[in-house]
Amino acid sequence: MTLLQGFGDQIIAGAITTLQVALTSLVLGIAVGLCGAMAKVSGIGALRWLADGYTTIVRGIPELLIILILFFGGTVALSALFGRYVEVDAFAAGVFALTIVFGAYATEVFRAALLAVPRSQIEAAHALALSRALTFRLVILPQMWRYALPGLGNLWLTLLKDTALISVVGLEDLMRKASVAAGATHDPLTFYLIAAALYLTFTSVSLVGLALLEQRAGRGVRISE
């Protein structure tokens, strides 16, 4: 293909890396967010304090700065630990940083969703002798999902696009591959447009998937509304 001037494979590899970083961070970030939300609504003061500190700090600092701080901080820490210079893997650093960021915002989304589950739904489970863990799994989690999905969807779109920030620490993602190709071919517009089209494709597919998920999560509920 003349349009890609031999950079097609590189762009595809970059796109795959972008998706890998984003999806891994999503899964880990959801886990962090759930833990954070439970910490926030738990009656345990120390846990709440920790979770509040976490979300306040992360949400108050630009994502790019968090990535840089974690990357260089990680390099310093690991080098000190092993007594020699250790270069942090860009993929791992990227996933770590994005998980931290996504987890903080997801904590707030899940917290609101947890509190939105009607008390009466939970009491019904308790009255039937379901344990706290079972009540969480069978009643709270599936119901809070419905309240959390729209917010999580927005966070996912942000996450997908934030992966581009990781290219500053050397991740060979779609953004970086595009800019390398742009520099090598002196044809930046073409490659940035291609990258933009790919990001847009990912986000569009996500929106469709999200709509389906929301439909599924709304089972049994929308009819009455």
């Binding site: 039937l128 119901q143 049994g220």
Partner: protein, 270 residues
């Protein structure tokens, strides 16, 4: 605090009280400074149907909710006869509370069916996860109960697709699926349109005829009179008067009860 001691009944001498399905001794519940249940004692024998009456705010809901620890009581003892379970003042563990809850089926005023689950799923979850029934066993039990409450054709519906009366009958089936010793009803028909009340009362009446032990908080005075063998009238967290229905309704001794009954007469048609 209320403490639970499963061995206590074994160590008790076998007394006349063995028929008591439920015994509540000196139960107290406070919300902050406000004492809502003030040292209440109550015994239900096996097969008793006890209607609990009282004006709004007298503590009827709180009493039922203390029995299964949806509101942990501050003081008192709760005995469930058949399964040798006792709760009394002191710290109560989650395991003990759950043992208590298995024996007390609760039906709420607002049904509280899980909205994200079908009728069948609502009924089978607790038997599977709490009682350890296999899925086919639990489903068989659920199907039988659905027949009993007359809603077998709704097994795959979601609660929001059902009328309030249907939802309440499902909620009753869900409680029955745990095969509890005692059923607790908290105003089971108060949230229903008048034309739907009858179907639910019919189901409860059938349960009474089976000889089930039940505590029913209700404002349906005619129903209470027909279905129960004892009426308990609550006032400010204490039993103001109790007795067999005919005596209670025809010549109550408490002026408060007389006043309550005359004030309720207007809505006393069913």
């Amino acid at each position: 605090m209320v403490k639970f001691n499963p061995d206590a009944l074994q160590s008790m001498p076998d007394q006349s009280d063995t028929t008591a399905a439920l015994r509540v001794v000196d139960l107290r519940k406070r919300f902050g400074q406000l004492e809502v249940i003030k040292g209440l004692s109550l015994t239900a024998n096996k097969g008793d149907v006890i209607s609990i009456l009282g004006s709004s705010g007298s503590g009827k809901s709180t009493l039922l909710r203390c029995l299964n620890f949806l509101e942990p009581p501050n003081e008192g003892e709760i005995w469930i006869g058949g399964r040798q379970i006792q709760a009394r003042a002191g710290a109560t563990g989650q395991r003990e509370i759950n043992a208590l809850r298995i024996n007390l089926g609760m039906v709420f005023q607002t049904f509280n069916l899980w909205l994200h689950k079908t009728v069948l799923e609502n009924i089978v979850e607790a038997p599977i996860h709490v009682l350890g029934l296999s899925k086919p066993e639990a489903q068989l039990r659920a199907e039988e109960l659905l027949l009993k409450v007359g809603l077998a054709d709704k097994r795959h519906a979601y609660p929001s697709q059902l009328s309030g009366g249907q939802q309440q009958r499902i909620a009753i089936a869900r409680a029955l699926a745990m095969e509890p010793e005692i059923l607790l009803f908290d105003e089971p028909t108060s949230a229903l349109d008048p034309e739907l009340v009858g179907d639910v009362l019919k189901v409860i009446r059938a349960l009474a005829d089976e000889g089930r032990t039940m505590l029913i908080v209700t404002h349906e005075l005619n129903f209470a009179r027909q279905v129960s063998n004892r009426i308990v009238f609550l006032h400010e967290g204490q039993i103001e008067e109790e007795g067999p229905p005919d005596a209670f309704f025809t010549h109550p001794s408490s002026p408060r009860v007389r006043q309550f009954l005359s004030s309720q007469r207007d809505g006393y048609h069913r």
